[in-house]
Symmetry: D3
Subunit: 119 residues, 6 copies
């Protein structure tokens, strides 16, 4: 069973993506497609790629992107320690301005690992 | 008739501007004035200027600024295609980190063009 | 007596910090500690340091950080004029993209100085 | 005849692109291709699109990108006044932190329009 | 006697400002003027204002802006300790991504205080 | 044998770090120390951590940081394909504004793997 919060996140995301696709021309459509492709397993495992996406999202401070990559990291079975080490790098690179995002990130992760979220 | 959402956006903006002006010295006041002047019709049509403001706001990822310039683009009779092409440039320049803002931008635009908003 | 809004801000911050500490390794813990140390009175008075933190937060556009440093500036007895001059520098350096944050900053400050907040 | 400075800019760009393509997988190749497509004439004239690229580059403060879009604006016959109005918007949105880039941008433009550069 | 490096910095800046003014319309001119006004002594001493400008420049990572405010801090008789404390705040807020700028900042400061620069 | 270019990079870095340490107080010193610690092998392998540092540096667009993490990736025996996939994620997240940095990154990597650099 998927938690209502995560469900709401994905539902809203889906709803908005439909609006994007209503207006999107070829450029935006291709970019959305590319955005999916680069996280696929390749020379680097998918887990590593999701951690790369997460760290990029944290240093650039985008809560939605952070939440999305946290959900993907959870699905890819990233452990608490692996997550913490990746976040530590992001916080050192990005500075204290990232701390509010770190707080929200770990609060979301805490729910994911807390058993009330299932995929 | 103006939609209640857009009305709420402008009302809140106005309320906060009054607080700004309560504290603002000459520097902030002059900057607010300048901020209005640069979007006025000149060698470039106003429509182009609003698109420039919109693209700048999207790559810098400020939802309030995006919403404001979308409303102004709508008033300047920017078409769906013109808007889409400007947003495509912004998304390519700014990357996938701008996508959550693009989603919210097009959801707002969809309401503006949907007929439930009038100026 | 502390206003309910400020109280809510600190309570939520505290709640989230507890989640951070649940997952934090040595790196994140040390960074949080360092983040506290650099604002302590030294060659520069604490008031100046809080203004430095505020300006950095405004140009980097982090509402949570801005709110935190505003509360600290208020505690350090920064006057309205001092605050306004610091914010004017931040707005000129950071541009109109900072204006929505300036609006929210001054709305929060207005409550702090309005007498409904006490420390 | 093309000025030696602009020639050097394009030559270095070309040399580096060859190295990029030596290592690039499908993701990077498709992105480079997309990056070209979004500036093509469509509902918006190419001139407007180059101005959008220029303003995005200035607020994000990338000298190489600014230089590239200035050369393209010049080819698209953007006038001095049109350029100035677009740059004014970028500087107001992005703040004084963009001024060093504005200086270098106009110094490059001055050479382009000065007659020592030909396409 | 002024060091040749600082002299070169100011001379190049002046040369480029002349090019800016050749193209600048009212918007850019007024913004340049505003940019000077906000650092003038007021409720906050000029020294504090230059430190605010410096910290904003470091977290936004603009070497030219950093260099300019360092020169102004030096003229305003900021001490080594005051400077270090301001930079420490900037580095903690902005993270390790600011370190290369910190290195260049202190190398420039070292020359300023080393006696080979005079105003 | 180490290439003269890489040698020059490290030598300049070392020279500047000495100047930093001449002025650094406890805050900056501790931060530099922390900055080293978070990349040490732990739950995540060092190779992954260097890729995380690299992607963070690319999306934040700091050439010095990119160069440093590329050298570290090379020492950690990151393959061309692994590097390319990490850079592809960074470029998609960060957008075309990162392309000039990607170009310089791959030109540097090309030298590292070209056999003219040894550790």
């Amino acid at each position: 069973m998927i938690s209502s919060e995560l469900q709401a996140f994905y539902t809203e995301r889906e709803r908005l993506n439909e609006i994007v696709m209503k207006y999107a021309g070829q450029g935006i459509k291709r970019f959305f497609s590319l955005d999916g492709q680069v996280y696929r397993e390749g020379a680097l495992p998918q887990k590593t790629k999701e951690l790369l996406g997460l760290v990029a999202s944290l240093v650039l401070r985008c809560d939605d992107c952070i939440k999305y990559h946290l959900a993907r990291c959870f699905e890819a079975e990233v452990s608490d320690s692996e997550l913490e080490e990746a976040l530590a790098i992001a916080v050192i690179v990005g500075g204290s301005i990232t701390i509010p995002h770190l707080r929200r990130a770990l609060a979301f992760w805490d729910k994911l690992v807390g058993g009330d979220v299932e995929f």
